[in-house]
Structure formats: C-alpha cells, structure tokens
Symmetry: C2
Subunit: 239 residues, 2 copies
C-alpha cells in the first residue's frame, strides 16, 4: 500500500499503457471510409485501437434505421469489452480512412499477465464509454435538437483537443449531416436546418470538411455543458 489511505488505488496510465500495447502489435491495419471494423453479433476476437482517423460505434435496428452510439477517435479502443463480451452488440465502421492496430485475445491475455495494469486500462475505457453513453442518452432523451447538436460538437471539440487535433476552436470534421442525425436521434433535414441557423447566428463556421466553433462560450451555454467533459474527468489516475 502506498501509505496514504486515500491514495488512488487503481487507474489508467493512459498514454503509457497505450505504448505498451502498441509494442506488441505486429502490423497496422487500414480501412477505407465506410468499411466495417467490427460487426454486430460477430464473436469478439481481437482488441482494436484506432491510431488515425475517425470511426463510429452504432447499431442497426430492424426498422432499417441506425443509432450511432458514439464516435471513436485516435487513441480510443473500438471494443474495450473484448475480454468480457462473447460477441459484439454493436458495429464499428470507418468514417475517414483509418489506421488501426489489432491485438489478438491470446496475445492480450499474455500481455496482461506481464502488465496487469492493461486490464485496468481497458476497464477504464469501458467506464469512460459508459459515461459518454449516459450523457448521450440524457441529451437525446431530454433536450431539443439545438442543444443536442451543440453538445455533440462540444464533446468532439474536447476530445479532439485532448489529442491535439484542434487549432483554436477549429478542427477537421468528417461527419455528414446524416451521421449527426443518426447520433442525435434526428433527421438529416432537421440537422441541416439547425446547423444553418447556428451558422447564421455566428456560433459555428463550416468550410471544406472543417468546423470552427466561432462562439464557443455561447455554444457551451446552449449545450448546458457543465464543465470540461470526459477526458480524465471522473477517472482515478494512477500517480
């Protein structure tokens, strides 16, 4: 024990753990936009980690439409539950061109035997995703289109900022309006109306696959964003 009774007891080492994982990866994989990385219902066999590009976690409903759960950004695991779940209950597809690495289950378990912390990092990731899911659910269930979209944009901003993919309040933005609709539980047409209005009001600016949050403060008010969001908000840090 560390001596301090209230010392953080478990936690993620973040970048360090990711490095450890990458050290056992033989080869990187590529995926073209639209390609499926993980398919709903298929047995879970390997851990996938995004290195470059955006992906989305989603589920197809039998009514033909789909719900996007969240977006998977560089450094995120596609399926932190790979050791727990028998088969995946969601799909993951590339949005942009993608570079990712796969670690087979057997390899992963071997690695965990040497570095138990890695299991915690996965658990951590799972918990962070659950947190995001709860925020997302609250947004879809209890706020209107404008608030939901503002919330999504701000969440993406914070996550991208954490991996240094923003300049000021601007970042590359590969999502179609239909994807935003599938994530927020709206129709593409309505998403369009809301985005256009936001632009007219000077809240955002869009050009050439990029997005700028030109009035970040007001956007945060609209989103009711309580404060700096996910990256490291609620999670115990080791050391």
């Amino acid at each position: 024990m560390t001596g301090r009774r209230s010392a953080p007891l478990v936690g993620s080492l973040g970048a360090q753990v990711r490095g450890e994982l990458l050290s056992v990866v033989r080869r990187r994989h590529q995926a073209a936009p639209g390609e499926l990385i993980i398919e709903q219902g298929r047995p879970a066999t390997a851990l996938a980690m995004i290195e470059e590009g955006w992906a989305m976690r989603f589920r197809d409903l039998d009514s033909g439409c789909r719900q996007i759960m969240d977006f998977v950004l560089p450094g995120d695991f596609c399926d932190p539950c790979v050791l727990i779940a028998e088969r995946s209950d969601f799909s993951v597809a590339a949005i942009t061109g993608l570079t990712y690495s796969l670690i087979e289950q057997a390899e992963l378990l071997e690695l965990i035997r040497r570095v138990p912390h890695i299991a915690l990092a996965l658990w951590w990731d799972e918990a962070a995703e659950a947190d995001r899911l709860r925020s997302h659910l609250a947004a879809v269930g209890r706020t209107n289109a404008r608030e939901r979209i503002a919330q999504l944009l701000i969440e993406l901003y914070f996550r991208l900022q954490a991996i240094h993919q923003t300049i000021d309040h601007r970042f590359a933005f590969p999502l179609t309006q239909e994807m935003i609709a599938d994530a927020t539980g709206l129709t593409a047409v309505h998403v369009n109306r809301v985005l256009c209005r936001m632009e007219r009001e000077g809240l955002i600016r869009r050009d050439r696959r990029a997005l700028a949050l030109t009035d970040f403060v007001r956007l945060q008010e609209i989103a009711h964003a309580p404060m700096a969001l996910l990256p490291g908000r609620l999670l115990r840090q080791a050391r």
Copy 2:
C-alpha cells in the same frame, strides 16, 4: 489454460461471486422510497448491491428535468465502476423500500486480492450496463413512444424473470408514469395515453401496483425485441 483454444477466458460467476461478496458484508442497509443511495458528483467510496427492492440510476439536468438511465434490481450493483471512477456521474435513488449492502473500497480490494474473479464480475456488470445503455439509447433515439414503452416493459420482464420475480407474465410494478416518462424521454401525460391505449388493446393489464403483459407476443413484436435480452446474452461465462 483449459486446452480448448476458444475456451472462455474470463467471465462472471454470477451468483457465486455475489455470495462471496455478501460473505464480507457486516450489515445490511435500508432505504425508504425516494432516498438517495448514491449522489451525482460525490466521491465514490463503496460498492452498493441491491438485495431487495427497486432503485433507479439517473442524472439531473440543469434544465430541471431528469433522465433515468436504467433501473437497478435485486442482485445488481449500483456502481460497478466504483474502483474506476473518482466520483459518480449519476445518482441512484430508491424506488421502493430497499435493502442493500455496502462494501467499502479497502475491503473490496482486499477481497479482490484473495479472489481476483470478483474484479471481473464488476467489469462484467459494467459491460452489461453499457449494453443496456446502448439498447436504451437506440430506443430513445430511433423509436416512437409505443415501441419504447413496450421495450421497457419487456426488458423489465426478462430481468425480473431471471431473478424469479414474475408469475406467468405478471410482476409487481412500482414505477410511476412519471418515472417511465423520465426513462423513455417522454412526458408523463403521453406515457399515460400510450399505457391506456395498450390496456384497451389487451396488451397489458394494470392493477394494484402490478403489471401483467397479457399479450406478450404482440408486445414483443411492437418492441422489436430481437430475442431474449440481457441476462447473460453477450457475456462469456466461466465454466
């Protein structure tokens, strides 16, 4: 290793692990309806497991309304993320009178040192909750009021059946229509209309705090329930 390469590698022992946990519990706690067990934003200090009664996991939004994430039934952990999260990002409140047990963090870690499987059981629970959250999100984002409510009722039915709290398709039902509304992202008034119509159509019957799913097959069709849901659906079982 077990010999079979595809053998389940990790997993939950379910009831056995729960028994193990209960063996270290000194005293049971009680809570009256409405009482808070876990409060959003407070440091996470102990693992809570429901023994009797229903609770709900929810979040208050600053617009004053709330979103219920899911319901916590006997045998469920309130906060499987207690070892991972610095502070809780949701609240848990008693719906009925409640009996639950608390296991302090230090105690829990000690127990895990002796029985590492317990950590997996918690992780498992976390993953099961994430799965439920994804289904819930898809329902709220992409289905109408009738489908959502049917889905909720059927999910509760399956979970209660798994713990032997159903007789035929009937079970004690302590939720108010406002709670159903807060869970499904609707208003209490609209929930009322939908429930009344379901009753008129012979899908359900309500009386004295109990609910009967009188036309289970049709209800399942409405809910698009793909098949037997959560309990043990996607999860590796040890042995």
